[in-house]
Each structure stands twice: as structure tokens, then as C-alpha cells.
């Protein structure tokens, strides 16, 4: 167990808190602005998200990749009687997720700024309601940041639940036709799941309390307690299942994914863009390191589920009639890859799955932004209502093509790195006999299937005859293109120089593997390299 980086604490006492709460300060500033002042509201929100991004820049610059353990740690007692603390910290894994959240939030806010005035019900806030929309968006940013920073189980739960509230309202107010149903389904599914996590966390804290007569919800201490054999394997299995249920719902992992296409299908685009994979992160930060033995027991099952998820969601994506829904099922399919990498329980798999989580934000973020901009113009994303866009919108088509190729994991793009490492990790696990090779092979077919659904969609939407009503569609404006360009740049940056990003991951990943993988397994993994 690495300790805290005390040297960094000296000066950087509050950097994490500032990063975390700056969006919330933005919310309060927004509330001071009179209603209907759209431009001003957008300016404040952009300023708030840019400040947050700047603060994450401070984090990146001062992050010390050579040490293990958490950095920038802040600890304030919250409910000391129950050992609950406001405990924040990041390591190489959460660092990039925090940065990515900040980047995507900026883009989401700019997207809202660029949105044209559209009639109500078109998933875009009208000028009068832009302020309210941005308030929810910024609150969501704070909640997501909190999820990636919290190192106390209760604090984590609080942020995990807090993400539901603004998302619920964003869907319920600005969602599509079936927004009421979608918002409620979203809330209840994820709320239901996370209660089991709370139950498991409490149970674990009680076991710790009985053994040590001290109540704590601190991740590191509980982790050490379990590692020292404080929890028998039978109990560990139940606890792991409690955590896993919450995270699998959130992920979304087949068969707990049914809320995802419904909720996000109705959700406004900016929500889909910044609604990151908190589920996968939670698995790797809490689920597996807390209960390594249980994770190993369930690894074959998890791998099987993940592989089935990849294929099942890919096939479902092929059959969708709506571009947004194709992309949403692609997300579910990619979540399967992330889980394959995680359940490999080795370094390659872990790095792959973290890269894949980043990819999800980058590639999917760009994809949804583009879809949103298309929706502004066509007012529909139904595939059979579109066609021949290539001739109408060359710039849009080019950008879309690049993003799509990243999504199908073309070498040279980020998707290739992520999926390749995930599959390699999974194969290593299979090689050492921990999981069945069948599942890895099955999962690998997902890369082919993704080409099927993506290219088929591309073909139908961008080529062929142009329907009458789509003649004279305006191409992307320079501002709109500039919104997507940073993400496209990231696609190639990660794809061509992954080391820039994985460098800071190395130590954290190594430590993670040490915590999670058992002795013989590590040996097998080392041999295979």
C-alpha cells in the first residue's frame, strides 16, 4: 500500500476541492443572472468550466507519475463517529478521467452555446431556459468529479447518487417524447442498484468494526483490512456482488443495460456527452481492489458476461433505426470491452480498460456532439429519413468518418489501442487458465461487428440518394467544427502516442495489479510477456 504523497500536500492542499467545487460556484453565479440572458449565462458557464479545466491542468502538471498511491489527498472529518470523512485523492487512473470530465464539460457547454433556437421538444434548451439547463449541467460536472475523486465509501455514494439528480431533471425537462418515462426509469434503475452498494459498504464497515472496534469507510483502510484476511471469502463474494450490481447497472452491462438506451435515447446530447463511465471506474477503484479474492472467483463469470455484452449489444446496434440509438448500443458494446479488460485482472488488461474508458469519453463524446449538430439541421436522426449527406455536408462527413473509424478501432486511432490492450489482457488471462478462451474469442468478434453496424449506418446515411427535404443542408460552421476538433486531435494523439497517457498510469496500474491479482496469476502474466 502506497502512502499519501505528503510533499504534494503542502502546497496543493485544496486543488482537488477547487476543481471539484468550481462548477458549483458557477451554478451560484448563474443563479444571479436574470432569466433569459442567454449569452451571459453561456459566458459564465464557459468561464466556470474553463476554470475547472485549468485547475485540472494544474493537477496534470503537478502529478508525480513516479510514485504509487493517491496524490493531492484532502481529508476533513465529516461524521467522525462513523468514520466518515471528506476524503479526496487521485491516482494515475482517476487523473485522466478527471481531466476528461473537465474537457467534455467545456465542450458540452459550448455546444449548448452554439445551439440554434429550436422549437420546444427538440432536446435543446430555449433561450429562456438556457440558464436552468446550464445549472444542471454544471451540477452534474461537480457530481462526476466527486465520483472520480472520492476515497471514502460514503462520500463516493453521495456523489454517485448526486449524479442522478441533475441528470434526472435534464432528461425530464429537455428530453424527447417519452422523457417522463425515461427519466424515471433511469433514476429508479440506478438508485436501486446503488442501494446494494450502500448495503454492502455498511456490511463491510461493520465487519471492520467488530474486528477493530473502529468504524471507518475509508477505502484504503478497508482495503488493507480485507487484504489482511479480515473478511472470509464467502462474505467477500456477497459484498462483491452488492458492489457489482450497483456498478453493472451504472456501466451499463448486459443484462442490466435496459435503462441506458431508453434514458440516454431521450436525453439531451450534452448529457450523453459528459455522462461518463462512472460504473467502470467504480469497478476498478472499489469493486475489485476491495475484494480481490471474490473478484478472482467471479472473473470467469464477469468475462463471460462482458463478452456476451460486446456481441449482444453490437448485434442490437446493427438493428437500430436511429443513429443515436446505434451509437448508444455501441456504448454498451464498448462497455463490454472495458469489463473484459478489467476482469482480465492483469496489467495489460487494466491499462487497456482505462484507455478504453478515456476513449469512450473522447470518441463517443465527439460522435454524440456530431449527431447533435446533425439533429439541429435535420431534426431527425432516423436512418431511413437520411441519405446522401456526404454531398451536402463534406466537412461534417469527414469528421464523422474519422470519429467512426476510431470507434471501430482502426489502427492509428485511440480505439485500436484500447480494444487491443483489453483483448490482449483478456487473452493473457485465458492463457494462464483463469478464464475460458472461448469468451475472449467471442469478445474479439465484437470488433468486426462494430465495423458492420457503423459502416452500414455510414453507408445508408452518407451515400445514396438525398431525400428531397435534405437538399441544401448547411455544412458545419467553423465554430461547430472547432468544437469537435479537440476530440479528433485526442483520438489521434492517444492512437499514435499512447505512452503520453499511459505513462502516468503505470505506477497506479502496477499497484492495482498487485492488490487484485493473486500470486500464481501474476507469475503467469509475467511469463506471457
Amino acid at each position: 500500500m502506497g502512502g499519501y504523497n505528503l510533499a504534494a500536500m503542502e502546497w496543493a492542499v485544496k486543488v482537488l476541492s477547487w476543481t471539484l467545487w468550481t462548477p458549483l460556484i458557477g451554478v451560484f453565479l448563474l443563479l444571479l443572472i436574470p432569466r433569459g440572458q442567454r449569452v451571459l449565462a453561456c459566458a459564465v458557464a464557459i468561464a466556470a468550466t474553463l476554470t475547472t479545466l485549468g485547475l485540472t491542468g494544474v493537477l496534470v502538471v503537478n502529478f508525480d507519475p513516479s510514485t504509487t498511491g493517491y496524490q493531492f489527498v484532502e481529508r476533513v472529518p465529516w461524521l467522525p463517529d462513523y468514520g466518515i470523512a471528506y476524503l479526496l485523492g487521485i491516482d494515475g487512473i482517476s487523473l485522466w478521467l478527471v481531466v476528461l470530465t473537465a474537457v467534455l464539460s467545456v465542450l458540452a457547454v459550448v455546444y449548448v452555446t452554439l445551439a440554434p433556437a429550436l422549437p420546444i421538444g427538440s432536446n435543446t434548451p430555449s433561450p429562456e431556459h438556457t440558464r436552468a439547463f446550464l445549472c444542471h449541467l454544471l451540477l452534474l460536472e461537480t457530481a462526476l468529479m466527486g465520483v472520480f475523486m472520492a476515497l471514502d465509501l460514503v462520500l463516493f455514494y453521495v456523489f454517485f447518487e448526486l449524479t442522478l439528480v441533475p441528470t434526472y431533471f435534464l432528461i425530464a425537462l429537455w428530453g424527447g417524447e417519452r422523457r417522463g418515462y425515461a427519466a424515471l426509469k433511469f433514476f429508479l434503475y440506478t438508485f436501486f442498484g446503488s442501494l446494494f452498494m450502500l448495503l454492502a459498504a455498511l456490511w463491510l464497515a461493520f465487519i471492520h468494526y467488530r474486528a477493530t472496534n473502529e468504524m471507518t469507510f475509508e477505502l484504503m483502510r478497508l482495503q488493507q483490512f480485507v487484504a489482511e484476511g479480515g473478511v472470509p471469502l464467502d462474505v467477500q463474494k456477497w459484498l462483491f456482488l452488492g458492489f457489482a450490481l450497483a456498478f453493472a447497472v451504472k456501466l451499463p452491462l448486459v443484462p442490466f443495460h435496459t435503462w441506458w438506451p431508453v434514458a440516454m435515447g431521450e436525453a439531451p446530447i450534452p448529457v450523453v456527452v459528459i455522462f461518463l463511465k462512472t460504473g467502470a471506474y467504480a469497478f476498478l477503484r472499489f469493486g475489485m481492489p476491495l475484494f480481490p479474492e471474490a473478484a478472482q472467483v467471479f472473473a470467469p463469470l464477469g468475462m463471460a458476461l462482458a463478452a456476451v455484452a460486446v456481441v449482444y449489444a453490437a448485434i442490437t446496434a446493427t438493428m437500430q433505426f436511429d443513429m443515436k440509438r446505434v451509437a448508444l448500443y455501441a456504448v454498451v458494446s464498448h462497455a463490454g470491452f472495458i469489463m473484459m479488460g478489467l476482469f482480465a485482472l492483469n496489467q495489460t488488461g487494466l491499462v487497456g480498460s482505462v484507455v478504453q474508458q478515456l476513449n469512450h469519453g473522447v470518441t463517443m463524446g465527439a460522435m454524440f456532439l456530431l449527431l447533435g449538430m446533425l439533429h439541429w439541421r435535420t431534426r431527425t436522426l432516423e436512418i431511413n429519413q437520411l441519405g446522401g449527406l456526404k454531398a451536402q455536408m463534406p466537412l461534417f462527413s469527414a469528421l464523422f468518418l474519422m470519429v467512426m473509424l476510431a470507434l471501430v478501432a482502426l489502427p492509428g486511432t485511440n480505439g485500436f489501442i484500447g480494444e487491443f490492450l483489453c483483448l490482449l489482457g483478456a487473452y493473457q488471462a485465458a492463457h494462464s487458465g483463469q478464464v475460458a478462451t472461448l469468451w475472449v474469442v467471442l469478445g474479439a468478434t465484437g470488433t468486426i461487428l462494430s465495423v458492420v453496424y457503423m459502416l452500414w449506418m455510414f453507408q445508408r446515411v452518407f451515400y445514396g440518394p438525398t431525400p428531397e427535404r435534405l437538399r441544401s443542408l448547411p455544412d458545419l460552421t467553423p465554430a461547430e467544427a472547432a468544437l469537435v476538433l479537440p476530440l479528433v486531435a485526442l483520438i489521434f494523439w492517444i492512437g499514435l502516442r499512447p505512452a503520453h497517457f499511459t505513462h502516468s498510469l503505470e505506477q497506479s496500474a502496477t499497484q492495482w495489479v498487485q492488490q487484485v491479482a493473486s500470486e500464481p496469476w501474476r507469475v503467469a502474466h509475467d511469463n506471457s510477456e
Binding site: 461524521l79 448526486l162 425537462l173 417522463g180 427519466a183 424515471l184 436501486f192 450502500l198 448495503l199 455498511l202
Partner: protein, 495 residues
């Protein structure tokens, strides 16, 4: 000639109650001299009285007094719950006028009745002598019967009042019979003696039989007041039929008072735990399930909140069954939070008076367009009732949940968690209907009356404040429970 021996009394223990009674009498007299419909002075005097009472009550923090020949007491539990009662009453007083005027119910007796009810509720908590508790219960109940039927012109209100009165009278009789049997068994009406001669291994013993019957009868009576299933049947009709301001008051105050007494009674009956805990277990389970599941299918917001209050009573009962420090802390914390949430929620519903007082979920549609602040407040209140962090409702449930696990009541804890999800469903459905067409063309704006704004702000700040910093209240609750458990009493009497 021997001097008359007057027991030494400590006035301060009853000062808060007496202040409220004084204010009630003053308001009663004042009303005679005011022109009809002029209620602002009544409200101000009432608020002043409640504020003073609150001040006296706060001054008693930390004291553990038993006085008036052991019929009155003041401990931290009493201080905490009485303050919750005082705040709830004050909030209702604050916003009631607007509702009464909109419904054309300018009856000045509303104010003294409300204050008397408050005094009764406070009295219930400020004694372990069951006769005094009964006295408080009756003062509270009688005032509430009248308040329920205050909308004289409406059949629904009259029906509710009659129903409440008949069933309430039954419940009171049960409670009184229980007290009588306790006296028969122990020769005392102080609840602290309830288990003094209880011997678990002797089921055939006469006093044992009396004690069992006594406790059972008292549980029925209090279960009625607390709206615990299966004694909850009156709740939806009365909550719906009563004027909304009266509902707001009764939902918050009766619950606090009834659970205050239950808390004391069941802690005193600790040696009989094996006997009553299965019963309370069943009551808790039933309340959580019935309340939350039936609330799910309600179309009227008042009925829905009524059933949900049964569910909340069930959560509180889980705390009582678990009977440990954490769970009792949770009961106190939850009661305070619940009082704020309920008063606020019914307060928002009382705004509907201007739209014909229809409170169906459909009628609430578009509140966000008409009165955005009220809708926003309602949304937060609903989230708190559903137990979503960071609101007080979350921490209340947290302590109850933790206490249940600590007390080995795993099944109840799981049901608590699951029914919370059900609860979230109907609370969010209500919230959604407020915002359903919030984005349509702007409707005519209605201003939210200033007193209501103040009231809602107090509720929101309180709930979110407690959500972010639950510690002060949690600590106070814990201290209160610990003191009661240790039985540190400073008896002031002249013997």
C-alpha cells in the same frame, strides 16, 4: 397546626408549554376584539409565543429535570422534539393565513386551536407520567378534530373530521385502558415502572398478563396517532379531507409527538423486548410495504403523501425495533427532518388553494411555470423525502438503516432500502408532473406569498444544511438518547 406541604416545583421544566398555552389564551381573547378576517395580529402573537417557548426550551438543553411530583420532565429528547414541534407550528402559522383567505375560511379560531394543539403535543413529550401524556394527547387530538373540520362548507372536510374523531376516540380509549391496566399491575401510571415487575420466565403470572395487555393497548393507541399500519386507515381520508394547512400541521406534529412517546415507552419497556419486538417488527414491515406500495397508485398528492407518511412511520418503527444508540439517534434525527419536509411539502400543496384547491397530480402540472420557486422547493423536498443525498432525508434513513443492521434486523434494513426505491418512484413522479410542461409557453405567473417564501426557504436551508452538515443534529440526538439510556435524572421535589 401543621403547615400544608407544597412540593417544590421547578417551573422552568414546564415553562415552554405554559408559554404556548398563554399565547393561545391571549390569541383567543384577542380574536374577540379584532374585526373579522383580521388575522395578522393573531399570527404575530402566536409566532411570538412560539418563539419565546422555543427560547425557554433551548435554555433547558442539557438539563435532566423531573419535577411537579414526577409528572413533568425535561430532557434533551424533550428539548429536541419540542423544538421540532415549535418550528413546525411556527411555519404552519406563518403560511396559513394566505390559504385560509383563499379558501374563504376566515375563522379566527384556527390560531388558538393550533397553539393548543402545540401545547398538547409538547406536553406528551414532556412527561413519563401516562396520565399527563394522555392529557397532552387529548388536547392535541381534540384541537386536530376541529382543525380537520374547519372547512365547514365542505362535505369532505366534515366527513374527515367525523371519521378522525370517531376513530381517534377509539384509539384514545385503547390508550387509556392500557394505562388503567398498567395501574392495576404496578400501582403507578408512570411509564418507567412498566417493566418493573416483569419476569419473562413466568407467563402465567397475573401482573405479567396485565402488563402485556397494557403495553398492547397502548401500542394500538399510539400506533393510531403515529399512522402505523394496520392502524393507518384514517390517514388518507383525513389528510385529504382536512384543509391543507391543517394537514401540514397534523402530519408533522402528531408524528413527532406520537413517536416521542413511543420512543420513551418502548425504551422503558426494554426488559420486555422479546415480547414487543416481534409485534413492532411486523408493524414496521407492514407500514413500510403498505404505505409505499399504496402511495404508488394514488392520484391525489395529499393522499399520496398520506400513504407515504405511513411508510415513513414504518421507517421510524424500524428504528424503534432495532433499539440501539444508532437507531434511536436515527429516530430523533428523522423526526426533525421529517417535520421540516412534511410541513414544506403540504405548504406547497396549500398554494393550490388559489386554483380551486385541487391537489391531484394532474392539477399540479405546470406549477413550475406558474410558481417556479414553489416547484423548485417541492422538488428538493421530494428528493429529501425520497432520501437522496445530500439532503437531511438521506442521513435520517442512513442512521435508521445503520441502526437496523447494527441491531441485527437485516430483513427490515433491506425492506427499508427497497421501499425507498418505491418511494423514489412516486416522489419523482410528482416532481415530474410539476415540471411536465415547464418549457411550454410561459403561463401567467402567480407570486408566491412572502410568508410561504420564508417558510420554504427555512425548510430548504434546514434540509440541505442538515444534508451537508448532519453532525450537529446527529450529535445532539445521540446525546439525548444516551442521557435517557443512562437515566441521569435530577429529581426536583420537596419530599
Amino acid at each position: 397546626m401543621e403547615a400544608l406541604n407544597i412540593p417544590q416545583v421547578e417551573w422552568s421544566a414546564l415553562l415552554p408549554v405554559l408559554t404556548v398555552v398563554g399565547a393561545a389564551l391571549l390569541v383567543l381573547i384577542l380574536e374577540l376584539f379584532l374585526p373579522r378576517g383580521q388575522h395578522t395580529p393573531l399570527m404575530l402573537v402566536g409566532l411570538l409565543g412560539l418563539g419565546l417557548a422555543g427560547y425557554f426550551q433551548l435554555a433547558l438543553w442539557g438539563a435532566s429535570l423531573v419535577t411537579w411530583a414526577e409528572t413533568a420532565l425535561s430532557d434533551n429528547i424533550a428539548v429536541l422534539l419540542n423544538l421540532a414541534i415549535l418550528v413546525s407550528s411556527g411555519l404552519v402559522l406563518l403560511f396559513a393565513d394566505d390559504y385560509l383567505r383563499a379558501r374563504n375560511m376566515r375563522y379566527g379560531e384556527f390560531y388558538p386551536l393550533l397553539l393548543f394543539a402545540t401545547a398538547g403535543a409538547m406536553l406528551m413529550i414532556s412527561s413519563t407520567n401516562l396520565m399527563v401524556v394522555f392529557l397532552g394527547l387529548e388536547v392535541l387530538s381534540l384541537s386536530l378534530y376541529v382543525l380537520t373540520g374547519l372547512a365547514r362548507a365542505e362535505v369532505r372536510s366534515e366527513e374527515a373530521a367525523l371519521k378522525y374523531f370517531l376513530l381517534g376516540a377509539f384509539a384514545s380509549a385503547f390508550f387509556l385502558y392500557g394505562i388503567a391496566l398498567l395501574y392495576g399491575a404496578q400501582g403507578s401510571v408512570d411509564m418507567r415502572v412498566i417493566s418493573a415487575s416483569w419476569v419473562a420466565s413466568m407467563p402465567g403470572k397475573m401482573t405479567n398478563a396485565l402488563l402485556v395487555a397494557s403495553l398492547a393497548l397502548m401500542l394500538v393507541g399510539l400506533g393510531f396517532k403515529a399512522a402505523l399500519a394496520p392502524f393507518h386507515m384514517w390517514t388518507p381520508d383525513v389528510y385529504q379531507g382536512a384543509p391543507t394547512v391543517a394537514t401540514a400541521y397534523m402530519a408533522a406534529v402528531s408524528k413527532v409527538a406520537a413517536f416521542g412517546v413511543l420512543l420513551r415507552l418502548l425504551s422503558a419497556a426494554m426488559p420486555m423486548l422479546d415480547l414487543w419486538s416481534p409485534i413492532m417488527w411486523a408493524i414496521a414491515l407492514l407500514s413500510m410495504l403498505v404505505g409505499n406500495l399504496v402511495a404508488l397508485i394514488q392520484r391525489d398528492a395529499k393522499r399520496m403523501l398520506a400513504y407515504s407518511s405511513v411508510g415513513h412511520a414504518g421507517y421510524l418503527a424500524v428504528g424503534l425495533v432495532s433499539m440501539n444508540m444508532t437507531s434511536l439517534t436515527g429516530v430523533l434525527f428523522y423526526l426533525v427532518a421529517y417535520a421540516l419536509m412534511t410541513v414544506g411539502a403540504f405548504g406547497v400543496l396549500s398554494l393550490m388553494a388559489r386554483a380551486g384547491d385541487a391537489t391531484t397530480v394532474d392539477a399540479l402540472r405546470g406549477l413550475a411555470r406558474r410558481q417556479p420557486f414553489a416547484a423548485f422547493a417541492m422538488a428538493i423536498l421530494m428528493l429529501s423525502l425520497a432520501g437522496i443525498p445530500p439532503t437531511a432525508g438521506f442521513w435520517g434513513k442512513w442512521y435508521l438503516f445503520l441502526g437496523a443492521l447494527e441491531g441485527g434486523q437485516t430483513l427490515l434494513a433491506i425492506v427499508l432500502a427497497l421501499t425507498s426505491v418505491v418511494g423514489a418512484a412516486y416522489y419523482l413522479r410528482l416532481t415530474f408532473s410539476l415540471y411536465a410542461d415547464a418549457l411550454e409557453a410561459p403561463a401567467a405567473r402567480w407570486s408566491v406569498p412572502a410568508p410561504m417564501v420564508v417558510c420554504l426557504l427555512i425548510c430548504l436551508i434546514g434540509l440541505i444544511g442538515l444534508g451537508i452538515a448532519p453532525r450537529p443534529l446527529a450529535e445532539s440526538s445521540r446525546q439525548a438518547v444516551e442521557r435517557m439510556a443512562n437515566g441521569e435524572w435530577q429529581v426536583v421535589s420537596g419530599e
